[in-house]
């Protein structure tokens, strides 16, 4: 009976974990789309028009509390990089754009993130 009870309890614990894993994957896919959404806005800008520095930090993707995207926050930074893609204090005609989308993990324990990085040249 004890063995059976342990087996059943173990099995029952697997269901929420499986659901959490599926929800995590789903939210990651949405976060990637939201990061792409912001990245695309840089595509329309000329190299010179892309500001350098921390452009936004922890900004809500959607301010409407009823929106399914309300849980996501976005951080966008742009930095100069050299040819080895190491950060550079001076403009060497290369900029790195980093967009990070964060959201609370479905298990409620932690924060998950998805990051999109691209390099723009002059």
């Amino acid at each position: 009976m004890t063995v059976l009870a342990i087996g059943i309890l173990g099995l029952l614990r697997a269901f929420p974990q499986a659901t959490t894993a599926e929800r995590t994957l789903e939210l990651e896919a949405v976060a990637n789309h939201l990061a792409q959404e912001k990245m695309e806005s840089f595509q329309s800008l000329a190299y010179e028009d892309i500001a350098v520095g921390m452009l936004e930090s922890g900004v809500r993707v959607d301010t409407d509390t009823a929106s399914p995207f309300f849980i996501f926050t976005r951080t966008t930074s742009v930095s100069y990089v050299d040819q080895n893609l190491a950060e550079s204090p001076a403009d060497l005609n290369l900029k790195r754009i980093t967009i990070t989308i964060s959201w609370p993990h479905p298990a409620g324990t932690d924060t998950s993130t998805a990051t999109l990085v691209t390099i723009r040249s002059k």
Partner: protein, 186 residues
């Protein structure tokens, strides 16, 4: 005197109660696992479908030279609401033709269409062309492929980048996503 053999009625009742309880628990686990599996499959399918739709539309918007649909600048103006279908010039083809994304029930289709005048069917003309009498061109459907299922809403807005919001629904699972797509040739 011989000791009594077999089980008493009380022992049988106890054994039956335990068996019924165990069967009940096992049945609940089976039902739960079936529900969980079904929800998991639906969620994975919707996620994958939304990803593939986004990629398909991204490729077309990247290459197009002209978005024919008059898209509103934003999604929130009730006087100029987002559009539920999108038509754009096919940037992949040498021939003048158009790609149209539209929803039919829960299905999303990608249609390729050409416009021509009956007098010169081999010459493709712009969608808004008129002949000398002011007649509109005929439409020839070249392709009409299903791109995705379970679509409960798809809306387009913004000029460049073009924003796309997608809602998919299967059983009790709802998957909503949104992105923006920049056209290189727009």
């Amino acid at each position: 005197m011989k000791p009594p053999r077999g089980f008493t009625l009380f022992e049988i009742l106890i054994a039956m109660a335990i068996s019924v309880t165990l069967l009940g628990v096992l049945f609940s686990i089976y039902t739960l696992s079936a529900k969980s599996l079904s929800a998991g499959q639906a969620r994975a399918e919707l996620t994958q479908t939304s990803r593939s739709i986004m990629e398909r539309i991204t490729r077309d918007i990247r290459e197009t030279k002209n978005v024919v649909s008059g898209l509103p600048p934003g999604a929130l103006d009730p006087l100029n609401p987002p559009l539920e279908e999108l038509m754009l010039e096919d940037g992949h083809s040498e021939t003048l033709q158009y790609i149209r994304y539209y929803r039919d029930g829960g299905d999303l289709y990608r249609q390729i269409r050409q416009y021509y005048f009956p007098e010169e069917p081999q010459i493709m003309v712009p969608h808004n062309a008129e002949d000398e009498f002011g007649n509109e061109p005929e439409i020839s459907i070249i392709e009409n492929h299903l791109v995705g299922q379970y679509i409960s809403e798809i809306i387009f807005y913004g000029q460049n980048p073009v924003s796309l919001k997608l809602t998919l629904e299967k059983e009790t699972i709802i998957h909503e996503t949104r992105t923006a797509l920049y056209g290189r040739n727009l």
